[in-house]
Amino acid sequence: MRLAIDKYAYLTSKIHRWEQSSKLVALLALIFAFAFVNKLVLLPAMIAVTIVLYTLSRLPFSFLLNRLCYPGFFIAAVVIFLPFVAGDTVIFSIGWLKIRQEGCLSVVLIVTRFICIFTASLVLFGTAPFLTSIKAMRSLGLSDTIVDMMVLSYRYLEELGEMRTKMQRAMKLRGFQVKIFNFRNLNTRAQLIGSLLIRSYDRSKRIYQAMILRGYGNKSGKYSQNRSKKNDRLSSVAFWITILIASCFIVAEIFYRN
């Protein structure tokens, strides 16, 4: 199964060659460092680091733009309302509508932080197959129960999505009015999800039996990656540079005074 996030996971950029568990730790540190930034003066540096990271990953710009659409709605609501309600310093007014400086600055901070963190997350998970990322999490000590649940959920996600679409199409063909809200329609939708739950529940028992037959539960095999010495060196250099940059942001945020 190949999801949209895996579309560019097989390119050969330096970021793609960076070992995933080391990338995971370093880029998560960078993401939290970005979240830590509250001073406007640090925003240009944050944008510059993000641009360099995204350029090095060689992911297409359209990939980022397409994925920015949905979360953009929440951010759009913040951009629209915050300048009118936050702060006291009025910089512009039309009748009773007043645009305030503090609100505008908060919007700049929130939007920049959002785009930079979002881009870093996309680089983190868009430059390696999703299953490799899950294996990397296991190698970093994530609980086996959670990793197993993650892998199995991932495995059946698309299949169940298709099943839901087929069932919804069948409902429509039998005259179900999708756009009408009433008690009967809500009940039909509940029964649709109920049927999906029952099918999956029955199937899960068969899956468990198949897994037991294949030796599930026996501790063997560890996460390993075919790594060359060259990639090891690249990974360790990329790791320390990213950690250094993340630390610089945190130190600057704490000690820099306007």
Binding site: R67, P71, G103, M149
Partner: protein
């Protein structure tokens, strides 16, 4: 009801991860105390995938539509597996669709997951208190499903509005919290009705799913 990246200060995001770490540890401890914890992993995983898919179902309301959250129903059906399941669902949504975010994954899990565990314990009470008729399952499911969503919405509104900007005055914050809660109350009622219908259906067709 997902908080995107960049909205909250780092202290809140890190606290969210700390709480999520604690609750996940406790949930896994409870799961490992079960007779055969491995047996339930495929079941919990597939149901996690179903809930993920179900949350994409849109319910039309007047001019707009809402999507189901179903954290209360997850708590009722999955028990202590609900918290890791919600964490996984949120992680998938953040990575695959960009809903929520990586820095806010912890706090989003707290918002959705803790009410799910409350719903689980609340629904367990029905065994001790009320008779086994289907109507009672519906009533308990309505309160647990709708209540979990109302609880999530309250935590969400409180966290977002008190942390979004230090320049937002207390009165505006209060007003915004009330307005958003009014909107979420309608969604909580619909979610409660949906939970009641779903759980009644499951009790009629496959009661063993509710034995958790």
């Amino acid at each position: 009801m997902h908080i995107p990246d960049g909205i909250l200060p780092a202290s809140i995001s890190i606290s969210g991860y700390a709480i999520t770490g604690g609750v996940t540890w406790y949930s896994l401890r409870r799961i490992n105390k079960e007779k055969n914890p491995q047996e339930k992993i495929p079941q919990a995983s597939l149901l996690t995938a179903v809930f993920f898919v179900a949350s994409l179902v849109h319910i039309p309301i007047v001019f707009t539509s809402i999507h189901l959250i179903l954290n209360g129903v997850m708590g009722i059906i999955l028990g202590y597996y609900a918290f890791p399941a919600i964490l996984i669902g949120l992680f998938f949504q953040a990575v695959m669709f960009g809903h929520g975010g990586l820095s806010t994954l912890g706090i989003n899990a707290v918002i959705m997951g803790i009410p799910a565990l409350f719903a689980h314990h609340f629904f367990q009470l029905r065994k001790a208190i009320s008779p086994k008729q289907q109507i009672w399952t519906g009533i308990w499911a309505f309160i647990a499903g709708g209540g979990a969503l109302a609880m999530s919405a309250s935590i969400f509104a409180f966290i977002v509005l008190t942390n979004i900007s230090p320049d937002l005055d207390a009165q505006t914050e209060q007003k915004a919290i009330y307005i958003s809660l009014a909107g979420y109350t309608i969604q909580a009622i619909i979610e409660g009705m949906f939970a009641a219908m779903l759980l009644s259906y499951l009790q009629r067709v496959k009661p063993e799913i509710l034995k958790n």
